[in-house]
Amino acid sequence: MIDIKILNEPLDTTGCIGNATDAACGGTATFIGVVRDRTDGRRVVRLEYECYESMALKELAKIAEHAVRSWEINHVVIHHRVGVLHIGDIAVIIAVGAAHRAAAFDACRYTIDTLKMTVPIWKKEIFENGEVWVSAHA
């Protein structure tokens, strides 16, 4: 099963893991991305995420479909949050269920690494004394 969502509300970790698990799965690998309190020593106040939703959903589906073709896995769940997030909030959950752990770990790693490179989602870091769109400039 592939379960992809972009949500403007807190993410449900237990629900994501549940959707990535069934009786045929020997394990579920997860990656949970959380808002850090500082970047390069600067104190972060909040992050603001936005996305190009129609394209982001298509790119996420491509990643999940590629993962299913490339590894022996049963489920891929990708939930990404947008809007205003504060320190400790969960920004993204990847959960991959498989019969055996190696495939689950590898597909989970592939999924988050590729998401960060190809999916049109952007975050702005708001500091105490300024703000910056992450990765925008050289």
């Binding site: 991305g33 995420y49 936005e50 996305c51 190009y52 129609s54 394209m55 982001a56 298509k58 990404h80 920004a91 993204v92 988050i112 998401l115 960060k116 490179m117 190809t118 999916v119 049109p120 989602i121 952007w122 975050k123 702005k124 769109w133 992450v134 990765s135 925008a136 400039h137 050289a138």
Partner: protein, 80 residues
Amino acid sequence: MDINILAFGVVKEFFGSPSIALELQGELTVAGLKEELEAIYPDMKRLRAYLVAVNDEYAEDELVIRPEDEIAIIPPVSGG
């Protein structure tokens, strides 16, 4: 005929708007669109990189834009 161009992230700030209209004169490729945008909004040249999406897909420079296409400017992504 005008084409509508969607902007995201820092590009929205360069444009001062989430979308702009650009007059389509003759045949315009993705590369040609980039040149026009960089002439109007020189800040585009300060980006580490950027891509153009046409109808929800990353587009090659050679692609010819049609009036009915949905065009979006994709600055470096930073999800996760």
